[in-house]
C-alpha cells in the first residue's frame, strides 16, 4: 500500500477495529438508517465502548490519544459501513471538542469532554447562521452579559447533530468588531429558551441529523464561556485544519468505496457478450478513477502526516480538501454511470455515495473559500 510509510502499526490495528465495527454495527443497518434519516443513540455508546469515539482526543479526557492520521483511518474505515451520515453524526464531536481543546480551561475540559467520549452526551458545533456561513464575521447571534450569566439570542442552521445534541459549542457575538467580537460558549440544550427544529431534509448524509437551532434568551453561566471574550474567531481558524482534513478523508474514502464497487460490478455484469470490464471504455474509465483516488489519498496522507507532526499548513490542507472533494464528485459520478440503471436505485451504494459527496465542496469551508485561502498564499502580488 502506497500510504504505508505514513502509518505505524497502531494505525493498522486501529483500522482493523474500525473496519470490524463498521461491518458489524453499521453495515447491516445502513440502508434502514439512511431511509429513516437517523440512527439509534446507542451507537454512540457502542462506539465509545469500542474505543473508536474520540480516538484522536487526548487520553487525559477519556480519548484514545491518537493523532490526525488515526482520525483519517477511522473516517475511511467507518465509511465502509455504507453510511456517510452515520460517520458525520458520530463525528460531530470531532469538530465541536477541538474548540474546547484550544480555548477551555482545565475545569471546563474535565466537565464537558469525558461524558461525550463515554457516549453519554452528544456534542455539536454551532457556527453557521441563516444569515452567515462562509463569512463568519457576519454572525449575529448575540450574547449579552447579565450578572453571572450571558443571555444568548439568535439562531444557527445546518448544525450536524443539532437536534440530538446535549451540548452545542456555540459561536456568539459579544462585541461589534467583525472578528474580535466573537466568543464561544458551551450551551446545554436542556436550557430554557433553547430549541431545535425538526431535522432538515437533505440530498445526502441522510442518517445524520442536521438542524436549525433557536436561542430565545438562553441563559448561559459565565463558567460556560470558553476563553476570553473575543477569542472565538482565532479558535475557528485554529480548528479548521482538523475539520478540513477530516472532510478530505471523507472524499478519498468515499471515492475509494465507489471505485471498489464499480470494479466489482464491471467484473460481474455482462453486456454484448462480455463483462463490462471487457470493454476498453469501461476499463479506461476505471483506470482514471483509480488514478485519481490513489493521488488524492496519497496527498491527504502526506498532509495529515505533516500536520500530525505539528506543521501548520492551511494552504495544503485547503488543497487537500478541494482536490479530494472534486475527485469524489467525478469518481462517484462515473461509478453510478458504470452501474447504469442500477446506479440510479436507492438500494445501490454508489447512488448514496454520489449524493453524499456533494456536501464535500460545501461544508467546512466551500470550494471557493478554499481557493481564496490558497490564492492568498500564492505569489500573485
Amino acid at each position: 500500500m502506497l500510504v504505508k510509510p505514513f502509518l505505524d502499526e497502531s494505525h493498522e490495528l486501529f483500522r482493523e477495529s474500525c473496519t470490524r465495527f463498521a461491518e458489524r454495527e453499521i453495515k447491516p443497518y445502513a440502508y434502514e438508517w439512511e431511509e429513516a434519516e437517523g440512527f439509534p443513540r446507542e451507537l454512540y455508546f457502542k462506539a465509545a465502548k469500542a474505543g473508536i469515539l474520540g480516538a484522536s482526543m487526548p487520553e487525559a479526557y477519556g480519548g484514545g490519544g491518537g493523532d490526525v492520521l488515526h482520525g483519517l483511518v477511522m473516517t475511511e474505515s467507518l465509511l465502509r459501513g455504507g453510511s456517510s451520515g452515520v460517520v458525520a453524526g458520530l463525528g460531530s464531536l470531532n469538530i465541536a471538542l477541538p474548540v474546547l481543546l484550544v480555548l477551555a480551561d482545565e475545569e471546563q475540559k474535565q466537565r464537558f469532554i469525558p461524558p461525550v467520549l463515554r457516549g453519554e452526551q452528544i456534542a455539536a458545533l454551532g457556527v453557521t447562521e441563516p444569515g452567515a456561513g462562509s463569512d463568519v464575521s457576519g454572525l449575529r447571534l448575540r450574547a449579552r452579559r447579565d450578572g453571572d450569566d450571558y443571555v444568548l439570542s439568535g439562531s444557527k442552521t445546518f448544525i450536524t447533530s443539532g437536534a440530538v445534541a446535549d451540548i452545542v459549542v456555540t459561536l456568539a457575538r459579544t462585541g461589534d468588531h467583525p472578528h474580535d467580537g466573537l466568543t464561544f460558549f458551551v450551551v446545554e440544550t436542556a436550557a430554557k429558551g433553547f430549541s431545535a427544529s425538526k431535522r432538515l431534509k437533505k440530498t445526502g448524509w441522510r442518517a445524520s441529523d442536521t438542524a436549525e437551532l433557536s436561542y430565545d434568551d438562553v441563559r448561559v453561566p459565565v463558567r460556560n464561556r470558553l476563553g476570553d471574550e473575543g477569542s472565538g474567531f482565532r479558535a475557528v481558524m485554529q480548528t479548521f485544519q482538523g475539520e478540513r482534513l477530516g472532510l478530505a478523508a471523507f472524499g478519498h474514502g468515499s471515492a475509494e468505496i465507489a471505485l471498489d464497487e464499480a470494479m466489482r460490478y464491471a467484473r460481474e455484469r455482462e453486456a454484448f457478450g462480455r463483462p463490462l470490464a471487457g470493454h476498453q471504455v469501461t476499463r479506461h474509465k476505471l483506470a482514471e478513477m483509480a488514478t485519481e483516488v490513489t493521488v488524492a489519498k496519497a496527498f491527504n496522507y502526506l498532509v495529515a502526516r505533516r500536520v500530525a507532526d505539528g506543521a501548520y499548513l492551511p494552504r495544503e490542507v485547503s488543497m487537500a480538501k478541494n482536490f479530494s472533494s472534486s475527485v469524489a464528485q467525478r469518481v462517484c459520478y462515473e461509478a453510478v454511470q458504470i452501474f447504469g440503471g442500477m446506479g440510479y436505485m436507492r438500494e445501490t451504494l454508489v447512488e448514496r455515495l454520489a449524493r453524499d459527496v456533494r456536501l464535500l465542496p460545501i461544508g467546512g469551508g466551500t470550494q471557493e473559500i478554499m481557493n481564496e485561502v490558497i490564492s492568498k498564499m500564492l505569489p500573485l502580488r
Binding site: 502499526e9 497502531s10 493498522e12 490495528l13 486501529f14 482493523e16 477495529s17 470490524r20 465495527f21 458489524r24 457502542k46 465502548k49 469500542a50 474505543g51 473508536i52 480516538a55 487520553e59 480519548g63 484514545g64 490519544g65 491518537g66 488515526h70
Partner: protein, 269 residues
C-alpha cells in the same frame, strides 16, 4: 493465577481464496487472528476482569516476525504479555505445534491453557487434545460456557451436546478449548461476577487506547531451538486435488418424478 492463550495467524476468512497450482496463494493475503483463538482471548479477559484471581494473561503464537501484528492485536484487546516462537506457521503440522506448545507450557507453568477449538485454515481440531495428552493434563474441549471456582482450583466447562449442555468440572491446571458460544453475553462467569452482568456479544474491539498501551507490552521471542524441541515432519502432503466440479442440477415436473429419481437414479430412498 496465570492463563496461557494460544493464537494463530490465519488468512482472513472473509476474503476470496486464490488457488495457485495445487496450493492456496498466500501472497497479498490479509491475515487475522484465528477467530476461535480470539474468542479464547476474550474469554480469558472476562475471567480476569470478573474474578480478580487472574494475575496475568500470556498469549503465545508461532510464526514469522510478521505475526507480531496479530500478537499485538491480542495485547491491544487487553492481554498482558506475548510470546512469539519463531517458526514457519504454514508448514507446521498438529504434532509439531503441540510439541512447541508443550515446551512453552513447561516454561510458563500456567494454571489454565486456553485455546481455540480449531484454526479455521487447517480445521484440524487436534492440537489441544495432543497437548493435554503430552502434558497428562485434564482436557475439556468446545467450551460454550465457563465458570471459575472462587479459589481458582477448578473450572466448570459447559459443552453443547445433542439436546442440551453438558457440564464438566475440571481441576486446574488443565487444557480448555472454546467454541463460538463462549463470546455470548453471559457465557463466562466467576465467583466475582455480578448478577445479571452482561458483556457485549463477540470479542471486544481493540480500542486505540489499548493499541497504544500494547506498544509498551513485552513480547518474548524464542526460537524452537531455545525450547529444545525436535521437529521432524509427521504429516506429509503427497498430492492435492480439487474436488470434481459439480454438474448442473435438473428441474423436475412433479413430486412423482422427484420420488422416482430419488429412488432409481440417486438411490437414496
Amino acid at each position: 493465577m496465570k492463563i496461557l492463550v494460544t493464537a494463530k495467524r490465519v488468512p482472513d476468512p472473509e476474503q476470496k481464496v486464490k488457488v495457485q497450482g495445487d496450493a492456496i496463494d498466500l501472497s497479498g493475503m490479509n491475515f487475522v487472528v484465528n477467530p476461535f483463538d480470539e474468542y479464547a482471548v476474550e474469554a480469558a479477559l472476562r475471567l480476569k476482569e470478573s474474578s480478580g484471581a487472574v494475575d496475568e494473561i500470556v498469549v503465545l503464537t508461532i510464526g514469522s516476525k510478521d505475526v507480531t501484528q496479530q500478537l499485538r492485536s491480542c495485547l491491544a484487546m487487553g492481554a498482558d504479555r506475548g510470546i512469539l516462537v519463531e517458526g514457519d506457521d504454514d508448514s507446521l503440522d498438529s504434532e509439531q505445534t503441540a510439541r512447541i506448545i508443550k515446551a512453552v507450557y513447561e516454561r510458563e507453568s500456567p494454571d489454565l491453557l486456553l485455546m481455540g477449538k480449531q484454526a479455521v485454515d487447517g480445521d484440524n481440531n487436534q492440537v489441544a487434545q495432543l497437548v493435554a495428552g503430552k502434558l497428562d493434563l485434564p482436557q475439556a474441549c468446545f467450551a460454550g460456557q465457563l465458570e471459575l471456582e472462587g479459589d481458582a482450583s477448578a473450572i466448570t466447562v459447559g459443552r453443547e451436546i445433542d439436546g442440551g449442555m453438558e457440564f464438566k468440572k475440571v481441576p486446574l491446571p488443565s487444557v480448555v478449548t472454546v467454541d463460538l458460544r463462549i463470546v455470548m453475553p453471559t457465557a463466562v462467569k466467576t465467583a466475582g461476577s455480578k448478577d445479571n452482568q452482561e458483556y457485549a456479544e463477540g470479542p471486544r474491539y481493540a480500542s486505540l487506547k489499548g493499541i497504544m498501551q500494547a506498544k509498551k507490552k513485552k513480547i518474548d521471542e524464542i526460537s524452537v531451538g531455545d525450547l529444545g524441541v525436535e521437529l521432524e515432519q509427521w504429516v506429509k502432503t503427497t498430492s492435492v486435488e480439487t474436488p470434481p466440479s459439480r454438474s448442473a442440477g435438473i428441474k423436475v415436473e412433479s413430486v412423482d418424478e422427484l420420488v422416482d429419481k430419488l429412488q432409481n437414479e440417486a438411490k437414496v430412498l
